[in-house]
């Protein structure tokens, strides 16, 4: 990518609406600023590296100037190197803008060497970096061809490197400009000229580097691609000579690996939100145990305890041959100062976070919920449960804007499904005087109601209920309702309201009574 620095700077300056205008990168030299690199457009206008910025501005009015920042170029190059891992497992970024890929054996997956190179070049172009690519037997030949080849994409058939190289200028050999100048002074214009000179005389006149580069390009000296490892989640692994089936032994190894993974993170003030433990079996598929944390924490013991809990539920009798611990979702977590006499106290919210982790590891995240009140007159819709995993475990205020009075007359226990009861009503349309709940007969001494609650028409077939708060002779208070169904047969789909047995009117015009809640 010969233009990587300027293309990178153009992307950063995109807001300046300098989409295609000339752009140079300047750096400070002495008291003045000097052009370090110029984009193709600027070069076409006569701007060359080494020119002072004042001169450049005079030559090209409206010139965009960005500062030369090789460290940013390096970051971009590393990103692109990571992207290039899709083509080969061995990728070496070479500054300022070259990626070396060892594609031995990889070309089959992409339909040949040329197809692979084309995919790489177009992929880089899509990311905004104009690239030239070449495939050759040696790193040196591929580099020379990519830098100075006749076409943006070149593939050298095996064994023909010297023939292809002969036409290229010596500068393509990765040698210093001083050597290129000396070669030019003696009339060496191409690598072909260079190859005709006696090699034994070259080191004395042009330094040892030249011959080495030549030999590398021709494959006489081996040169490999030094793969930079892709970014990996912090992890540690241990394998055993013989399978382990002992819980205690596995736990001991897991704890050791956990310290190995978390200690370096802690020293960088990082902590994971999720820990994965992989158990490898000899004769079975490996098994992944994941432990999520409510908050990033440096507390190794807490994480170890969660993992122990998960391991308890695993059948280890198959024999574990390897264990890996991987830290995921690593985020910054400012450290806590340790205590001299006792471990530092976690706050109440921290203690609750740890508790939630322990409970969720055994019961599942769906078992832990937090209530939120909603402004809805349907009793079942007046609140909603949110999972702790979603809602987090920070305390919330009760500022939901609901008045306490509106909620005053509701039972503390609302049955998940209303229970059909037998009730005796003296006056038609009135409150019951006697009802049966759980096999016991209750005599009503006082009733308050009715409070009519209806489903909205937008929530399916409409249902109306008359609710009564009834006090029994034992002093207990229940929440009963009578179903008023206006339309026969409208009770099949009731949306959020539970489907009740016997709710569908069967022609007999007899009110049905349900116990829905208990004031206790």
């Amino acid at each position: 990518m010969p233009e990587l620095p300027t293309e990178r700077a153009r992307r950063a300056a995109a807001g300046a609406a300098e989409a295609g205008g000339p752009l140079v990168l300047a750096r400070a030299e002495g008291g003045a600023r000097v052009v370090e690199q110029a984009c193709p457009r600027a070069r076409a206008l006569g701007l060359r590296p080494g020119l002072s910025l004042a001169q450049a501005r005079a030559l090209v009015p409206g010139l965009t100037v960005a500062s030369y920042e090789p460290h940013r170029d390096r970051v971009v190059l590393m990103h692109l190197a990571r992207w290039a891992y899709r083509f080969s497992p061995a990728v070496e970024p070479v500054e300022p803008g070259t990626l070396l890929l060892d594609i031995t054996g990889c070309q089959r997956l992409f339909g040949g060497e040329e197809a692979l190179a084309r995919q790489a070049v177009t992929g880089l172009a899509r990311r905004g970096f104009q690239a030239r690519g070449a495939v050759a037997d040696t790193v040196g030949a591929a580099y020379a061809l990519a830098v100075a080849g006749p076409a943006p994409l070149g593939v050298v058939p095996p064994g023909q490197a010297s023939a292809w190289l002969a036409a290229l200028p010596p500068a393509a050999l990765r040698i210093t400009p001083a050597v290129v100048e000396k070669l030019g002074a003696v009339g060496v214009r191409s690598i072909g000229d260079l190859l005709m000179l006696p090699w034994s005389t070259l080191p004395a006149r042009f330094g040892p580097e030249l011959v080495r580069r030549l030999q590398q390009a021709l494959g006489e000296v081996w040169e490999g691609v030094t793969a930079c490892p892709p970014a990996e989640a912090p992890h540690a692994r241990r394998s055993f000579e013989s399978p382990l089936a002992d819980y205690v032994a596995v736990v001991a190894v897991v704890e050791e690996l956990l310290t190995e993974v978390l200690s370096p993170l802690r020293s960088r003030a990082l902590a994971p939100r999720r820990i994965e433990c992989v158990l490898y079996y000899e004769r079975a598929a490996s098994r992944l145990l994941a432990v999520g944390l409510a908050r990033a924490t440096h507390d190794d013991r807490h994480v170890a305890e969660l993992l122990r809990q998960r391991l308890e539920q695993v059948d280890l009798s198959l024999g574990v041959v390897g264990v890996a611990i991987i830290a995921r979702q690593v985020s910054r977590c400012p450290g806590q100062q340790g205590g001299l006499f006792e471990p530092p106290r976690t706050g109440e919210d921290g203690a609750l976070g740890n508790l939630m982790d322990r409970l969720a590891a055994r019961l599942g995240h769906e078992a832990l919920v937090r209530p939120r009140l909603l402004d809805d007159h349907q009793p079942e819709r007046a609140f909603r449960y949110t999972s702790v995993a979603d809602a987090g475990c920070e305390p919330e205020s009760n500022g939901d804007g609901l008045s306490a009075g509106a909620l005053a007359r509701r039972p503390a226990r609302l049955l998940p499904r209303p229970v059909l009861t037998r009730a005796v009503v003296e006056r038609p349309g009135g409150a019951p005087t006697l009802f049966v709940y759980r096999g016991r007969e209750y005599r009503v001494v006082r009733a308050e109601g009715p409070e009519r609650l209806e489903t909205g028409w937008w929530r399916g077939p409409d249902i109306r209920r008359d609710y009564y708060r009834v006090v029994t002779d034992t002093g207990e208070q229940f929440w009963l309702f009578r179903v008023l169904d206006r339309r026969a047969g409208s009770g099949h789909s009731i949306g959020h309201w539970p489907v009740l047995p016997g709710l569908v009117s069967n022609g007999v015009d007899e009110p049905r009574w349900y116990v829905h809640g208990i004031f206790g």
Binding site: L355, N398, L407, R438, R440, G520
Partner: protein, 270 residues
């Protein structure tokens, strides 16, 4: 400002403290180390050990949590002691044990942050808790568990130092389970409120047993009859009659939250 100094420890409303008796003089009678002694590490360890001994001897004052009814607090000898278990007996279907438990939990939430409810029957109705002063923003509900999981959960919750009160309606409680929970509550320092409907199962390791019944007076008005069957303060006592918390004496949720913040600040030092 003498009044300020007096009010410094344990200003949380409803939380009383017994001031611990004077302690023996500190055991710092050793001589300074001789000059030129090389290692300071053993010395540091010694000092740390001394500090540990002193702090082990210092017992935190026994805290009590108010029930919100003065008559009941008197009968219990100053409220419910924290870091223990309390049984609320609910023999009838509509027993006021839930209301009593939530009222106490709301008071406890003025001293620590979180309340946990184990909802095995899926019948909790949070909108009804707001009028009782329960801070719903600090309530965690554990749903859909039973049997061994519920006991384990209760134990974990009580062991946590972030939880003010656990409310757990359960059918039976035996000596083994109550002992486990009691030890957990001692470690965690919170309040365990167990609502029991089944009285079989033998003796339990709880500090308090309170029967909660609702009764009608002659005018058919509802009252709560609370009978202390067992407490650290003494044996059975005369029943206490208290009013059913009604719309008239609702604790506004915002005032409750403000109380909580103040109490948390004051009680944090203990």
């Amino acid at each position: 400002m003498p009044s300020l100094v007096e009010n410094l420890p344990h200003t949380a409303p409803g939380v009383r403290a017994e001031i611990p008796a004077r302690r023996a003089p500190l055991p710092f009678a050793e001589e300074a180390p001789a000059r030129g002694q090389r290692s300071t590490r053993p010395r540091l360890a010694e000092l740390a050990e001394q500090v540990r001994q002193v702090s082990a001897r210092w017992q935190p004052p026994l805290r009590h949590c108010s029930t919100g009814w003065r008559e009941l607090d008197v009968a219990l000898g100053g409220g419910l002691p924290v870091a223990t278990l309390h049984e609320l007996i609910a023999e009838e279907e509509g027993s006021p044990a839930y209301t009593v438990a939530w009222r106490i939990a709301a008071r406890a939430a003025g001293w620590r942050r979180w309340i946990v409810y184990i909802d095995a029957g899926y019948d909790l109705y949070p909108p009804a808790l707001r009028p009782l002063g329960v801070p719903l923003g600090r309530l965690i509900v554990v749903r859909g568990i039973g049997g061994g999981d519920a006991l384990w959960t209760a134990e974990q919750v009580l062991r946590s130092s972030g939880v003010a009160a656990l409310v757990w309606p359960l059918r039976r409680l035996d000596a083994y389970a109550s002992r486990r929970l009691q030890l957990a509550a001692e470690a965690g320092g919170g309040l365990g409120l167990l609502i029991r409907s089944d009285m079989t199962g033998g003796p339990t390791f709880t500090a308090t047993r309170l029967r909660c019944e609702s009764i009608l007076d002659r005018a058919a008005a509802r009252h709560i009859r609370l009978t202390v069957l067992k407490s650290r303060h003494g044996g059975p006592r005369e029943p206490v009659f208290v009013e059913w918390p009604d719309a008239a004496d609702f604790v506004p949720a915002h005032a409750g939250a403000a109380d909580g913040a103040g109490a948390a600040g004051g009680g944090g030092s203990g």
